[in-house]
């Protein structure tokens, strides 16, 4: 007979098996993965990835994402510039998709992760635990969709490269891809058990 507290039940992030939290090192009884090895600095790993992502997001907005070269004349457009251009050309749905994927989702994800990371250490706000879990679940779902813009640039660059007219990926594509990559890592590194 083992007596357990419901609060001590944790879920293995890899195989989703329920385990008992034994304190220092938890090894999943089903798949053998270490569950949250870094016990003393549980949020720092996530913070580190998140800050890297935020830093990478700055050049992603300042440099051109897409360079159109027509008859030797080069013209770059940034993420926001691209959205505005699409809006002016009256392609509202696409402007909204790009706006959501490249501007709304990354910023929303930064804010949610910052809020979650702060709120596990310093109990601010009186949000119910269940809402925070739902918030985390939400960031996990929407996260990868910010890659849309990077893929669109790659597709356009692959489709349109002729002698006279070319579309080339810009510096921001690299920065943006890195930013999304690190935000995903930050979300994965976040220990849901802490909420």
């Amino acid at each position: 007979m083992i007596e357990i507290d419901e609060k001590d039940l944790i879920r293995c992030p890899i195989c989703e098996a329920v385990n008992i939290n034994k304190g220092k090192t938890n090894i999943c009884r089903r798949c053998g993965t270490h569950i949250y090895k870094h016990h003393k600095f549980r949020t720092e790993k996530s913070w580190a990835y998140l800050i890297t992502a935020i830093i990478a997001y700055i050049p992603a907005n300042l440099y051109p994402m897409l360079i159109t070269s027509q008859f030797g004349h080069r013209e770059g457009s940034t993420i926001l510039g691209g959205v505005i251009l699409l809006w002016e050309h009256q392609s509202y749905p696409i402007a909204l998709v790009i706006f959501f994927a490249s501007i709304m989702i990354p910023i929303l994800k930064f804010l949610i992760l910052i809020y979650l990371l702060i709120s596990v250490k310093y109990p601010l706000g009186k949000d119910k635990k269940i809402n925070k879990h739902k918030l985390y679940y939400f960031t996990e779902i929407i996260g990868p969709w910010s890659m849309i813009d990077v893929f669109v640039v790659a597709i356009l660059a692959a489709l349109i490269h002729m002698n006279n007219i070319q579309i080339i990926a810009g510096t921001a594509a690299t920065a943006f891809a890195l930013s999304v990559f690190f935000t995903l890592l930050a979300a994965h590194a976040f220990d849901e058990q802490l909420i």
Partner: protein, 213 residues
């Protein structure tokens, strides 16, 4: 809460969405159990899971191969025809010196989706034949690691977005592979989202328990 031994923890389920704790109850074949707090699906019971999974993942594998064999889309600009394939998307990035984005694209839209569907096929195959217990465990762990990084569905939406961007500049022809990719994405979403990884672990437990008796 009191339990006999650690194996009884298998009967406890933590909701994937809201982290509330539930006890597993036996349900009818083909039905599903929902979380009482947030209505998320906790688990389904399907007695033919291995068979269905094998059929679905084999189909997905065939569609993925087809999606890579022919052009996804063709565009016609000023009389010059250009086409797009999945490998070409990242090879062009390599050509123009964008190695980081190129690597990301290569892994996210080609290597990981292919690997994922191969792993699922092998996994369901050995579960169906009730073979190789240790291998199925390794495959399940590997699948969990790769799954968040497979972005074929996002690539499909990106193709649509770029097509709309090109309207007015070019004539667009949608290729065979586009439909193959769409079919792959639907199957991929079904296999990875509809069938929870924990259900396959449950299935694995059932299969090898039967063997022991």
């Amino acid at each position: 809460m009191k339990i006999e031994n650690e194996d009884e923890l298998d009967k406890i389920i933590i909701c994937p969405k809201c982290y509330s704790i539930h006890q597993e109850v036996p349900i009818k074949d083909g039905s599903k159990a929902l979380c009482s707090h947030c209505n998320a699906v906790l688990y389904r019971y399907d007695s033919n899971l291995a068979k269905n999974g094998l059929a679905l993942s084999l189909t997905a594998l065939i569609f993925f191969v087809l999606a890579n064999m022919f052009p996804l889309i063709k565009v016609d600009i000023l009389g010059i025809e250009q086409y797009l394939t999945i490998p070409k998307t990242f090879l062009v990035l390599f050509d123009s010196g964008f190695f980081i984005v190129g690597f990301f694209a290569m892994f996210l839209i080609f290597v990981f989706p292919l690997l994922l569907i191969l792993l699922y096929t092998v996994l369901f195959f050995i579960l169906y034949l009730k073979l190789a217990k240790p291998l199925s465990k390794q495959l399940l762990i590997l699948i969990s690691h790769i799954e968040p990084w497979s972005m074929a569905e996002i690539f499909l939406v990106s193709i649509l977005v770029s097509l709309v961007k090109l309207i007015g500049y070019a004539q667009i022809h949608i290729g065979v592979s586009f439909w193959a990719l769409a079919a792959y994405v639907i199957l991929d979403i079904y296999i990875t989202r509809h069938i929870h990884i924990s259900e396959i672990w449950m299935l694995r437990n059932r299969i090898y328990e039967d063997d022991r008796n």
